[in-house]
C-alpha cells in the first residue's frame, strides 16, 4: 500500500493492473457498445463540415442526425457502466471478473446516465468555446466512477459525488494531464498504423489504393503524423478515443475506490496490517 493513497503514480499502476486483468472480454464489451456512438459522432461532424456555411439551412437533417447520436449514446452509457463495474469488481477481488459485471444495479445506471447526459449537453453548448472540451472530459468520466458509490437515487447526490472526486485536485489534475498527453500520442499511432497497413498493401501490388492514399495522405510531408484529410482526422480521433477510454475509465474508477478507502479509514487499517506484518 502506497504511503499516499491518491498519488497519481499509484493510481496509474493500479490502472494498468486493473485493465490487464479485465481486458478480455470487458474492453471488447466497452468497444462494442461505444463504437456506434463514436462513429455517429464522426458522421455528424463530417456532415457539418460538408455542409459548411449552409449548415443552418439543414437544421432538420442535422437534428435527425443528433437524435441518432443521442440514441447511440444510451448503449454507450450502458457499456461504460458494465466496464466500470467490471473494473471495480476486479479491483476488489484481485481476480478475473465473470458475468456478474453485467448485473449493473439500476441506481448505478441511472446515476451514470443522468450526469453523463448533463455533461453531454454542457459539451454541446460550450463546444464552440474549445477550452471547455478538455475540462468536461473529467466529469464525463467521473460520472461512471462516482455512480458506483450510489446507494439511493437522487438529483443532487450524483453531481455532489462527482464534485467531491474532482476535489482531489492533485490526483485529478495529474490524471488529466497524463491522458491529455496520451491522446495525441495514440492518435499519431493510429494514423501511423493505417499508413503502415497502406504501405503493406502497396507492397503486395494493389491497384485500387489510390483513394486510400488520398485519404491517408499526411498534412505535410514534413509532418507525417497528422493526416491531411478531415475524415481521416475524425476516424483516427475516434480510434484514439476508443483506445484511451478503457484506461481513462479504469483510472477514474481506481481514483474513486481509493478516495472511498481513505474516507472509510480502510487505508489506515491496511497500512497498520502491513506494518504489523499480518495479512
Amino acid at each position: 500500500m502506497a504511503r499516499d493513497l491518491l498519488s497519481p503514480v499509484g493510481i496509474l499502476d493500479d490502472t494498468h493492473g486493473a485493465v490487464a486483468r479485465i481486458a478480455a472480454p470487458w474492453v471488447g464489451v466497452l468497444w462494442l457498445f461505444t463504437m456506434p456512438y463514436r462513429f455517429a459522432q464522426v458522421y455528424f461532424v463530417r456532415e457539418l463540415i460538408e455542409l459548411g456555411r449552409k449548415a443552418p439551412d439543414y437544421g432538420e437533417y442535422l437534428e435527425r442526425l443528433a437524435w441518432l447520436l443521442f440514441a447511440a449514446f444510451l448503449p454507450a452509457v450502458f457499456g461504460r457502466c458494465v466496464y466500470v463495474r467490471a473494473c471495480l469488481l476486479g479491483l476488489q477481488s484481485g481476480a478475473r471478473v465473470g458475468r456478474e459485471a453485467w448485473r449493473v444495479p439500476g441506481v448505478q445506471l441511472l446515476h451514470s446516465l443522468y450526469p453523463a447526459l448533463l455533461v453531454e449537453i454542457l459539451f454541446c453548448v460550450t463546444a464552440w468555446t474549445f477550452f471547455a472540451v478538455p475540462l468536461l472530459a473529467l466529469p464525463a468520466g467521473l460520472a461512471y466512477a462516482a455512480a458506483t458509490r450510489a446507494a439511493r437515487p437522487g438529483l443532487i447526490q450524483p453531481l455532489f459525488e462527482i464534485l467531491k472526486l474532482m476535489g482531489r485536485f492533485k490526483a485529478v489534475a495529474s490524471l488529466l494531464l497524463t491522458f491529455a498527453v496520451a491522446l495525441p500520442v495514440t492518435f499519431a499511432n493510429v494514423y501511423m498504423a493505417f499508413r503502415g497497413g497502406l504501405w503493406a498493401l502497396g507492397a503486395l501490388g494493389g491497384d485500387g489504393l489510390t483513394r486510400w492514399e488520398h485519404l491517408l495522405r499526411p498534412l505535410h510531408p514534413m509532418v507525417a503524423v497528422i493526416p491531411g484529410e478531415p475524415l481521416t482526422i475524425l476516424i483516427c480521433g475516434a480510434g484514439a478515443l476508443l483506445i484511451v477510454e478503457p484506461f481513462w475509465l479504469a483510472a477514474l474508477t481506481v481514483l474513486a475506490q481509493r478516495a472511498q478507502l481513505r474516507q472509510s479509514g480502510e487505508d489506515l487499517r491496511l497500512r497498520f496490517r502491513l506494518l504489523a506484518g499480518t495479512k
Binding site: 455528424f44 457539418l48 455542409l51 459548411g52 456555411r53 449548415a55 443552418p56 437544421g59 442535422l62 437534428e63 443528433a66 437524435w67 447520436l69 443521442f70 449514446f73 439500476g106 441511472l110 446515476h111 446516465l113 443522468y114 447526459l117 448533463l118 453531454e120 449537453i121 454541446c124 453548448v125 460550450t126 463546444a127 464552440w128 439511493r152 437515487p153 437522487g154 438529483l155 450524483p158
Partner: protein
C-alpha cells in the same frame, strides 16, 4: 373517570388507557407500573405507539415527539426510505428523459454556432 377504564402509569407518566370488560369487580382506576418488554428488570418508560408495548428508557426512541420501540422505528424508517427512494427514482428518470429530449436540439444549436465560429 369512566367506570371500567384502566389507566397504566409508566415511569410516573400517563401512557395509555385500557377498557376493562364490564361487570368485572376491579377498582375503577388502577395504577400499575409495567416493566420493559425487553428488560423485565427495568421499569417501563414509554409505550410504543405502534405495537403498544412498554419499553424502558434505553429501548424507547423519541421520533417527532412520539415514542417507538426499536423494531417499529426500524419499520417506519424503512417505509420512509422506500417512499423517498421512489421519489428519487422518478425525479432522476424525469431529469434524464428531459435532458435526452433537450440534447439533440442543443447539439444542433451548438454545432451550427461552432461552424460559424470556424468559418
Amino acid at each position: 373517570m369512566t367506570p371500567g377504564c384502566e389507566i397504566f402509569l409508566t415511569s410516573s407518566r400517563w401512557r395509555g388507557i385500557h377498557w376493562e370488560e364490564p361487570g368485572r369487580k376491579r377498582p375503577s382506576v388502577a395504577l400499575q407500573r409495567s416493566n420493559c418488554i425487553n428488560h423485565p428488570d427495568r421499569y417501563g418508560h414509554a409505550v410504543c405507539m405502534t405495537c403498544k408495548k412498554t419499553v424502558c428508557q434505553e429501548c424507547a426512541t423519541d421520533w417527532d415527539g412520539i415514542y417507538y420501540c426499536s423494531p417499529c422505528l426500524a419499520g417506519r424508517r424503512r417505509a420512509a426510505r422506500q417512499g423517498s427512494a421512489v421519489v428519487g427514482w422518478i425525479l432522476v428518470t424525469l431529469a434524464a428523459a428531459a435532458l435526452f429530449c433537450l440534447g439533440p436540439r442543443l447539439l444542433v444549436w451548438g454545432a451550427t454556432l461552432l461552424q460559424r465560429g470556424v468559418e
